[in-house]
């Protein structure tokens, strides 16, 4: 049984085929990397998996044993099913505090109706307490506890990245999609991030699919890699195999013939 299975996923924007016939099978607990040159269609795949855009054709099943079809669901529904993501360009709520940024991710699970906080019902107050407590615990994990009252827009770049990951975790996903989590980080931060990803994967029993350009990061972290180029899957396999794959080297560095001349 796979956690997520997409078959023949295709996305066409007008005459451009951004992703062509993409097949993905994620087993529970896997850590898979999605790599490829710029414009290969990696983020488009993420957008389709999270309901941001509707694929032109193909299917996506979540929890293949229960046959949950994701196509046509809105992003918030997909998130409630258990798929959370981070973004290539950080998408925080810059004017809200760090704590509020995390608490906001709890809202989708809130049971109290809107009049509960207005009348100050105890059921709502309990939920709010649980929200604060859970958010603080999550923030403690990524060393942001001292900054809970800071506006998210004032955080350093690396902290914003971590906050985004924590926010995604607060929605209690079973599948986490990370879009270039290490972009713009120095080697030290990248190492810390690798450790963090392995830790949360273990502790929250996550399945992770990530996009990344940093080859050291990807090779060191992922159990399996998928390589996209111009929307087509050109290779799939263990990091070692991918490293030696002719087609992948060509896609990244151009053809040798051209390089020679």
């Amino acid at each position: 049984m796979a956690l997520l299975e997409s078959s023949n996923l295709t996305m066409r924007f007008g005459g451009l085929t951004a992703v062509d016939d993409f097949n993905l099978r994620l087993l529970p607990g896997e850590l898979v990397g999605l790599i490829g040159p710029n414009g290969a269609g990696k983020t488009t795949v993420f957008n389709m998996l999270t309901g941001r855009i509707r694929p032109s054709s193909g299917s996506i099943l979540f929890h293949t044993d229960q046959q949950v079809n994701i196509i046509g669901l809105k992003p918030n529904r997909v998130n409630r099913l258990g798929i959370a993501r981070t973004f290539q360009n950080i998408q925080l709520l810059p004017e809200l505090s760090v704590l509020e940024n995390v608490m906001m991710a709890w809202h989708g699970r809130l049971k109290s109706p809107f009049w509960a906080p207005i009348f100050g019902l105890p059921s709502y107050r309990r939920e709010e307490e649980a929200m604060i407590e859970g958010s603080l615990e999550l923030l403690d994990r990524v060393d942001l506890l001292d900054l809970v009252d800071t506006e998210a827009g004032n955080l350093a770049y690396g902290q914003q990245r971590r906050l985004e990951i924590v926010r995604a975790l607060a929605t209690r996903p079973s599948l986490l999609l990370l879009d270039e989590p290490a972009a713009g980080m120095n080697p030290n931060e990248t190492n810390d991030l690798m450790r963090l990803i392995l830790e949360i994967k273990q502790d929250f029993s996550l399945t992770i699919l990530l996009i990344e350009h940093d080859m050291k990061f990807v090779m060191g972290l992922c159990e399996r890699l998928i390589v996209l180029d111009h929307g087509v899957t050109i290779a799939e396999g263990l990091p070692e195999e991918i490293r030696r794959n002719e087609q992948v080297i060509t896609a990244y560095l151009g053809e040798r013939r051209r390089a020679d001349h």
Binding site: N76, W106, H107, L136, L145, D149, A168
Partner: protein
């Protein structure tokens, strides 16, 4: 994990202490206002009481308008429609069959409406519900668009309601309007409604729902990806705003006792827009301050509409509507130089006030 526990406890101790203090202070402020109202009721003349009533109605309108425009960030231009719905609903419901007969002189009142006559409070609440119902109905098509398009679509809706009121002769009495509406509104009603509106909307904004609304304003993409149903939350904010705007409309109808479609043109919306922009989009307390300043200011500015004598040399004739020109200039100036308005997105808080007192400075408010 131990860190988080300790942190939370310290935080909690601090915030419960402050919350109790703030609650007492807020209650005291409300009681003070009530005391002032009591004196006003006794000693103020009719003109001053009228201004105080208008202040309260504008507070109600501005705060609820800010919920959708400022807090949720959905720029819409329709409150005149909801005010009209509330005003007409309540006025028609409270009129006795005889009064209706006197009003509807061109066409008789629709038979299903002619015999209805209910007390003031249910009529006001029905006015609010009517506005909220239309807001829900309208929200479904309207919130498919965003930004400028939303503003235009809602502007159109506001006009449609006014035109319908103008032409639905047997229900609204058309352009003749309704006269002799019972003057039930007094200071207690208008300020009571203003306090209830403030209480409900502040509680909502400070809850998880308020966070969701702000998340939609700041970054709808992120909000949706984190499991927030933005469409439903926009509908919630929109209908709640409409509910209070409708009730404020009912208050207005029973205050001025004569309503006609001309009263609910875009200018009403424009006034509210001035208030919430000057007060700060997204600041409820800012809206309150600006509503008071605006209503009071527009009374003071009546002077500019009267003929003015300049040093006995010559006389400037009074120009009706000059006040609106001045307000438009203020709005333009605010948008150019003072975009945040009075409060920006901040709220007045007791903690902030204590921070101003030397030595009373406390830790950052939680």
């Amino acid at each position: 994990m131990k860190d988080a526990m300790q942190y939370r406890q310290a935080r909690q101790r601090w915030s419960t202490k402050n919350r109790r203090r703030n609650r007492i202070l807020t209650l005291a402020a409300v009681l003070c206002t009530c005391g002032l109202l009591f004196f006003a009721n006794r000693f103020a003349d009719e003109y001053q009481i009228r201004i105080l009533n208008m202040v309260a109605i504008y507070i109600t309108l501005a705060v609820s308008y800010n919920l959708i425009n400022g807090i949720t960030g959905q720029f819409s231009l329709e409150p005149n429609a909801f005010v009209a719905l509330g005003a007409y609903s309540s006025a028609l419901l409270t009129m006795t069959p005889m009064e209706k007969g006197m009003n509807f002189i061109i066409d008789p009142c629709a038979p299903w409406l002619a015999q209805i006559c209910v007390p003031f409070l249910p009529a006001v609440i029905f006015g609010g519900l009517m506005a909220a119902f239309f807001a829900l109905l309208m929200g479904f098509p309207v919130f498919r668009v965003r930004g400028d398009y939303l503003a235009i679509v809602t502007l159109g809706f506001g006009e449609v309601i006014r035109v319908v009121a103008n032409n639905l002769q047997t229900v609204t009495n058309g352009p003749l309007g309704l006269k002799g509406i019972a003057p039930y509104t007094d200071l207690w009603w208008t300020w009571g409604l203003a306090f209830v509106t403030l209480f409900v909307i502040i509680r909502l904004v400070n809850s998880s729902y308020g966070r969701a609304l702000k998340a939609i304003r700041e970054n709808e993409l992120a909000a949706e990806s984190m499991g927030i149903n933005s469409f439903r939350h926009k509908l919630l904010a929109f209908s709640m705003a409409a509910f209070f705007e409708g009730m404020a409309g009912a208050m207005l109808a029973h205050l001025i006792t004569t309503i006609s479609p001309m009263l609910f043109t875009f200018f009403l919306t424009f006034n509210l827009l001035i208030i919430i922009v000057l007060g700060g989009l997204g600041s409820l307390t800012g809206s309150v301050i600006a509503a008071i300043a605006f209503t009071w200011g527009s009374e003071l500015l009546r002077a500019v509409e009267e003929p003015t004598d300049i040093f006995g040399w010559f006389t400037i004739p009074g120009i009706p509507g000059m006040r609106m020109v001045i307000f438009a200039v203020i709005l333009i100036a605010a948008m150019l130089f003072w975009r945040e308005g009075i409060m920006g997105r901040k709220e007045f808080s007791w903690g902030w006030l204590f921070g101003l007192v030397p030595g009373g400075k406390q830790k950052k408010s939680v």
